[in-house]
Amino acid sequence: WESDNDDAGNNSDSSQPNKKHTVDDTDDLDPAAEYAAWKLRELKRLRRERDAIEARERDLVELERRRNLTEEERRAEDDAHVAAQREEKESRGKMA
């Protein structure tokens, strides 16, 4: 299972297990940079979670707003939305 390694450079020096891979996974070559890269990844994860919460809250606020509208207001909003969609679609049709 090791002989047909598809990213093997050359199989002659198989005594060095790290040589048969093109990707180096040695740790602590540059601890500061590795820490900084990890910190950036961690921040992106936190940001992603925060964005998900915010999106969900926006949805709830919007839902609440719609529920408090009267029937006419809701219909007017829907008509405006449908009209906007239709316009979008027609303008795309002309382009083609």
């Binding site: 299972w1 047909d4 598809d6 990213d7 297990p17 790290n18 891979h21 093109t22 990707v23 180096d24 996974d25 040695t26 740790d27 500061a32 940079a33 590795e34 820490y35 900084a36 890269a37 990890w38 910190k39 950036l40 990844r41 961690e42 921040l43 992106k44 994860r45 936190l46 940001r47 979670e49 925060r50 919460i53």
Partner: protein, 228 residues
């Protein structure tokens, strides 16, 4: 049904009975069907599995990982050959180690051998309850060691925290469909989990700081320790 008192050296009984005689995994899944059938059959057919996973117990798993696992991944190549990582994960499904053994894999062994920890977090994600998965895996979002990952497009570099994050958020990792867990915020609402506190500190300060870092560029070289 309880766990048999002795371990069968090969997988025949495990597969023949399709897990009907053994115990279920703690999350209620049948360990014999957690991996997909096609993948299971390729694993059982592979030379690595036949040669290195015969008559292996929980302690031998450590030896095998240290000796043979130097990348993570599912199946590779046109023949979709299963990786040693995946074969050993399948063996773990068969062995069904307890939480004490897994804790050793993750902590003491995991500190020394990063691929052992990677294997153990993968196994925990497949078999433990959602609450336990979050509690066990989240501390390893701090582990920034490098891992080789072999995918369809060759070998790439990834990191332990990225792998753990994939396990927590994606639905398919290493040629295996992960079972659908409840989301973290649902578990928080049910008061099963405390909100996660990042090792970096309070969230609000960090989000401001993050914008600065991203504006500085993503190289990560220059701003390495400017924030300490």
């Amino acid at each position: 049904m309880s766990k048999p008192t002795f371990h069968r050296a090969d997988e025949r009984r495990f597969l023949d009975e399709r897990g009907s005689s053994g115990p279920l995994a703690p999350n209620g899944l049948n360990p014999a069907t957690i991996m997909e059938k096609a993948v299971r059959e390729r694993i059982v057919d592979s030379y690595f599995y036949k040669e290195q996973c015969f008559g292996v117990n929980e302690a031998d798993i450590v030896d095998r990982v240290v000796e043979h696992v130097d990348f993570i991944g599912g199946v590779s190549g046109i023949a979709q050959k299963p990786t040693p990582f995946l074969c050993l994960a399948f063996k773990l499904l068969q062995l069904a180690p307890g939480d004490d053994v897994l804790a050793e894999y993750l902590q003491f062994g995991g500190e020394k051998f990063k691929y052992l920890r990677a294997l153990a977090v993968f196994y925990v994600r497949l078999t433990r309850t959602d609450k336990a998965v979050f509690e066990t895996l989240e501390p390893f979002l701090e582990d920034r060691r490098k891992l080789r990952r072999k995918g369809r497009d060759g070998t790439t570099l990834t990191f332990m925290d990225v792998f753990v994050d994939d396990l927590l958020t994606k639905d398919r990792v290493c040629a295996t469909s992960l079972w659908k867990m409840r989301k973290r915020d649902i578990l928080e609402d049910l008061e099963l989990l405390e909100p996660r506190v990042s090792p970096l500190g309070a969230l609000e300060d960090l989000l401001e700081e993050e914008d600065e870092i991203i504006q500085d560029g993503e190289g990560g070289e220059a701003n390495g320790d400017g924030h300490e």
